[in-house]
């Protein structure tokens, strides 16, 4: 579903991703782990067509980036630590807006359905600026699944959430994975990802340093790889 070959991303003289190879099968839930500055967000922004690769090939659902970006975006949902919502619109108005941006045929019934899915239907008429951080994040997930994408990208979605909100978010994430969607989630919180993902990739200094399924790597090795990545990032 996702194929990345020899990906390089430069910001001025700084090379953030250096010849990265990365692939995700259809229906996989990949936990992309790595310390701050490893290049996780940059990789996700390239996959989401928000950033142009300096070199290399990126293909999602058979479409190449950046040439076929519109087709890729149609099949992609993204949740980052920023909810990408408008505080002066209500929850349902936000979903109506994004539904129109995605040219959905029946925006209002679909928005209702999504609001029920993320448990915000009773608050659908409230302005988003009155929502808690956890509610905003749930609505952000609703926004991301509104157009029923095949691929979901989550960029540290637990950031700033309390324990209850994290648990609720995990439930929604599990439901999304159970529906057979391909998911890539970045995090530096090992315990969260370990419970959700079926495969792990550890990113350090712009390259994948370890990759394998939950069974292949095992919790002890995962921790060891992650610590090595953190240490390596600290040595830069």
């Amino acid at each position: 579903m996702i194929v990345v070959r020899n990906l390089l991303k430069r910001f001025g003289p700084k090379i953030v991703l250096q010849g990265l190879d990365f692939a995700v099968e259809k229906g996989e839930f990949v936990g992309l782990l790595g310390p701050n500055g490893a290049g996780k967000t940059t990789l996700l922004r390239i996959l989401a067509s928000l950033s142009r690769p300096s070199q290399g090939q990126v293909q999602i659902a058979g479409y190449r980036l950046p040439a076929q970006a519109a087709q890729v975006r149609r099949r992609l949902g993204i949740v980052s630590h920023q909810p990408l919502l408008y505080g002066d619109l209500t929850a349902e108005e936000n979903l109506w807006f994004y539904g129109r941006m995605y040219a959905l045929p029946d925006v209002k019934p679909r928005a209702e359905e999504v609001l029920r899915l993320v448990g915000l239907h009773p608050r659908r008429g409230d302005l988003v600026r009155t929502f808690s951080r956890g509610m905003k994040q749930r609505l952000a997930i609703g926004r991301a699944v509104l157009h029923d994408p095949d691929v979901m990208l989550f960029d540290e979605p637990h950031t700033g959430l309390d324990q209850d909100a994290c648990a609720m978010l995990d439930t929604v994430l599990s439901e999304i994975a159970a529906r057979g969607r391909t998911v890539v989630m970045t995090s530096h919180d090992l315990t969260r990802v370990a419970d959700l993902a079926s495969r792990f990739d550890v990113l350090s200094r712009g390259v994948i340093v370890a990759s394998g399924t939950r069974e292949e790597i095992g919790p002890d090795n995962l921790l060891r790889f992650y610590r090595q990545a953190v240490q390596s990032e600290g040595d830069v």
């Binding site: 922004r45 989401a48 067509s49 928000l50 950033s51 142009r52 519109a70 087709q71 975006r73 149609r74 992609l76 993204i78 980052s80 920023q82 909810p83 990408l84 919502l85 408008y86 505080g87 002066d88 619109l89 108005e93 807006f97 994004y98 129109r100 941006m101 995605y102 040219a103 302005l127 926004r143």
Partner: protein
């Protein structure tokens, strides 16, 4: 056909979203309006003009007011998208990104027109001048389109940098000089009842400026927003 429909729908959605959000917060319009009214009030007290001098400076004062208030609105309109991270939300939509530009530009233009509709009668009363002339209205329409067309594009660029508040005027005013000169000259022509043949070159310049900058924005907006 389907693509054009989706394009127009996305454009309309952005305009609707900007108007609905502004109707609730009234942040942008209030700041633009208060600023515009203060500018014409300060000019009124500072210049102490007689009737003849008043007629000759009206066009200049009007366009300085519109330009300053417009810059304020353009800056806030894009900054609010960037600060809440919503610009990424717009860029993720599977439409040609120029639809985002046109949606934002139409929204900005509506806000500018609202300010102008309120400023014109206030100016008329304060300066005892009749500004409700079809020719002048046409110039305001064309001038505002040009100013917003180039301003929306530059605001999108300026919002990416830390010094965005001063960056937009620095980028915008030099590029907007042709539209401002043409708008002031044409407005002055209509207010002073100069023959249409003498005003026509300025009107033509306004039309050409509008077309050039709308076309430029259509072609380059994708590159402006890309990382």
């Amino acid at each position: 056909m389907q693509r054009i429909k989706a394009y127009l729908r996305a454009m309309g959605a952005i305009v609707w979203k900007d108007l609905a959000a502004e109707l609730r917060s009234r942040e942008l319009l209030t700041s633009m309006l208060v600023f515009a009214l203060l500018v014409i009030l300060i000019f009124n007290f500072a210049l102490e003009l007689d009737i003849k001098a008043r007629d000759s400076v009206t066009a200049g004062i009007l366009w300085v007011t519109f330009a300053f208030a417009g810059t304020l609105g353009l800056n806030r309109s894009m900054a609010s998208e960037k600060d809440r991270g919503c610009l990424d939300g717009l860029l993720l939509a599977p439409v040609d990104r120029s639809a985002i530009y046109f949606g934002k530009a139409i929204g900005n233009l509506i806000f500018m027109f609202i300010v102008e509709i309120i400023v014109l009668p206030v100016y008329s009363v304060l300066y005892n001048t009749n500004l409700f002339q079809p020719g002048l209205i046409l110039v305001i329409l064309l001038g505002s389109i040009g100013y917003v067309a180039v301003g929306t594009l530059l605001a999108t660029m300026a919002v990416q940098v830390r010094t965005r508040d001063i960056m937009l005027p620095i980028l915008l005013f030099p590029l907007a000089i042709p539209v401002l000169i043409a708008a002031v000259k044409a407005s002055n022509g209509f207010l002073q009842a100069i023959p249409l043949a003498e005003i026509l070159p300025w009107l033509n310049l306004l039309i050409v400026y509008d077309i050039v900058f709308i076309a430029t924005a259509f072609m380059v907006f994708d590159y402006v927003v890309e990382e």
